[in-house]
C-alpha cells in the first residue's frame, strides 16, 4: 500500500531526524549521566528508524534499503514531522522536545501494537518500551527545570512556547490516514490529540509551566514541506554517501 509506505516514512524519518539531532549533544551535555542518556535516546531512535525504513524499503519493492532511504533522498521526500528537525537549542529545549514527542509516541506505539500489519505491530512492541523510558526521563527533567530556579523555569517556559505550535501537525489527518485507519493499520492521528493532551498536562503542571494557547500556525514536515533547518541538517547527514557514491562501509 502506497499509504502505508508513506506512513512508515513519516514515522521512520521522524525518529531518524530526531535521533540525528539528539546525537549532536555528544560531548556537550551538562553532566556525564545526561551524555549517556542522550546517547541512549539517539541509539533507540536510530534503531527504530532502521526497523521502519528497512520495512518501508521492502514494502516499496524498488530495492531501496534503510541507507538508500536515509541518505539519498531530497529534502522534500522526507516525511518527518517538523519538530524533529529543529535545532536542539539548550538542554531545556531538548528535554521539552523529547518529552512532548515521546509522550505522543508512547500513545501511538501502544495503538500500533494492535495494528493489522503484524510487522508494524512488532516494531511498535519494541519501540513503546523505549518511548516510555524517554518520556519518563525527559518528564523528570521538565519538572526539575520548570520547578528549579527562576532561570531554568524561564528557559523551559520559552522552550515550551517555541515548540508547542509544532505539535498541531501530529494530530492532523489526510487521505492516507483515513485509509490506514479504515484498514486497522494505524489510528487516525486525530484520535491521539486528546489523550496526548491528557498525558502531558500533569507533568507540565507539576513543572509550573503554562500551556501555550492554540495558534493557527501549522508545520508541514510530514508532507515534505520542511522548515529552513532541514536544509542544513541533511547535507551533513548525507555527505559521505553523496561524496563516495558506491562506497562500502
Amino acid at each position: 500500500q502506497a499509504a502505508l509506505f508513506r506512513y512508515l516514512l513519516r514515522l521512520g524519518d521522524s525518529v531518524l531526524i530526531l535521533g540525528q539531532r539528539t546525537s549532536e549533544w555528544c560531548g556537550h551535555a551538562p553532566v556525564l549521566e545526561e551524555e549517556m542518556a542522550l546517547a541512549n535516546f539517539g541509539l533507540d531512535l536510530i534503531g527504530q528508524a532502521r526497523m521502519l525504513l528497512t520495512y518501508a524499503g521492502a514494502l516499496e519493492g524498488k530495492g531501496r534499503d534503510e541507507d538508500t532511504l536515509a541518505f539519498l533522498r531530497y529534502e522534500h521526500e522526507y516525511r518527518n514531522v517538523t519538530m524533529t528537525e529543529l535545532p536542539n537549542g539548550d538542554f531545556a529545549r531538548t528535554m521539552v522536545r523529547h518529552f512532548l514527542f515521546a509522550s505522543w509516541m508512547v500513545l501511538l506505539w501502544a495503538r500500533l501494537q494492535s495494528s493489522a500489519d503484524p510487522h508494524l505491530a512488532a516494531i511498535a512492541g519494541k519501540a513503546v518500551k523505549e518511548a516510555r523510558y524517554h518520556q519518563r526521563h525527559a518528564g523528570g527533567w521538565i519538572v526539575r527545570l520548570g520547578d528549579g530556579t527562576a532561570l531554568s523555569h524561564d528557559k523551559t517556559e520559552a522552550a515550551l512556547d517555541d515548540l508547542w505550535p509544532y505539535t498541531a501537525e501530529w494530530f492532523e489527518g489526510d487521505e492516507d490516514d483515513a485509509r490506514l485507519a479504515q484498514a486497522g493499520i494505524a489510528p487516525h492521528p486525530s484520535e491521539l490529540a486528546a489523550p496526548w493532551r491528557e498525558t502531558v498536562t500533569p507533568t507540565l503542571a507539576e513543572a509550573q509551566l503554562r500551556i501555550p494557547p492554540e495558534s493557527p500556525f501549522r508545520s508541514h514536515g510530514r508532507w515534505g514541506r520542511h522548515s529552513e533547518h532541514m536544509g542544513h541538517l541533511l547535507p551533513e547527514m548525507q555527505y559521505l554517501q553523496r561524496a563516495y557514491p558506491g562506497g562500502k562501509w
Binding site: E33, T149, K248
Partner: protein
Amino acid sequence: EAYQREFDAKIDRGDFIEPKDWMPEGYRKTLIRQISQHAHSEVVGMLPEGNWITRAPTLKRKAILLAKVQDEGGHGLYLYAAAETLGVSRTELIEALLSGKAKYSSIFNYPTLTWADVGVIGWLVDGAAIMNQIPLCKCSYGPYARAMVRICKEESFHQRQGYESLLVMMREGTPEQKAMVQDAVNRWWWPALMMFGPPDSESVHSPQSMRWGIKRVSNDELRQKFVDATVPQAEVLGVTLPDPHLKWNPERGHYDFGPINWKAFWDVINGHGPCNRDRMAARRRAWEEGAWVREAAEAYAEKANRRATTHPTAA
C-alpha cells in the same frame, strides 16, 4: 608503622587494597591522579569520535558509534566513582581538568579528519588502551581493578568493530575509501605508539607505581607488545604502517621499529597539539553552559526535600 607493613604485605601477596584500608598518602594521591586522568580521557575521548556521529555513512555505523560513546560515558562514570572512593568529589576532579591542572590521554588531542579515523581509533587507539589496561585489571587498588575488567571487555568489542569497519573499506571499498584508510593510518600510528608514554628510562612515575602495584608492566614492554600484535593486523588489512624501519627481528623475536619523535610527544602533552585548546574549550563550554541545569536540579531537589519533610504523606 604497622599499617604500612600490612599495606606492603597486601601488595606483595597480590591482594586488593580496598577503600576502607589504610594507604600511604602518596599511593592515594597517585591513584587519584591516574584514575581521574583515565576518567577524563574517557570523557574527552567522546569528542573526536562524537565529531563523526552526525556524518556516519550508514545507520548501522551511526548506531555503533553512538553505542561506543555511550559506553565511554559509562566508563567515565565507573572511573569517577572509583576515584571518589579515595576521598575526592567528581566536581573537584572536573574542575581540575577544566583548569588545566589534571591531564587526559594525549591521544585525544589529535583531530578526526575522515570517517576512516573512527575505525583507526577503534583499531589502534582502543587497541593501545586495552594493552595499557589489561595489566591494570590486576592493579592493587580494588575498585580500579574491577572497573578495568569491565572496561576492557567493552573496549575489546569496540576495537573489533573499528577493525571490522576498516576491513570492509579495504576489501570492498572504492579506491578513494582505501586511500582514506591509509591516510588515517599514516596520521594515527605514531600517536598511538606514544600512548604508552615516554621510554622507561625517562618515565618519572613508573618506579614508585610499580612498587605500589599500580603499574605492572613497563612502557617500553607494552609498546613492544602492541607493535608485535598490530603489524600482522595491518598486513591483513592491507595497509602500510608509516615506519620504514619496521621490520621483524628474528634474534629479538620482536618487530624493530623506528625512533619516536619525542619532541612532538612533549609538545602535545604540554598543550601545543592540534586539538588541545579546542578539546578544553569544548569541555569548559559544556560545563559552563550546563551550570544552570545542575543548579536547577539542586534547587529542585531541595524543594522536593522540604516538601517531603513538611508533608510526609505527599508523594
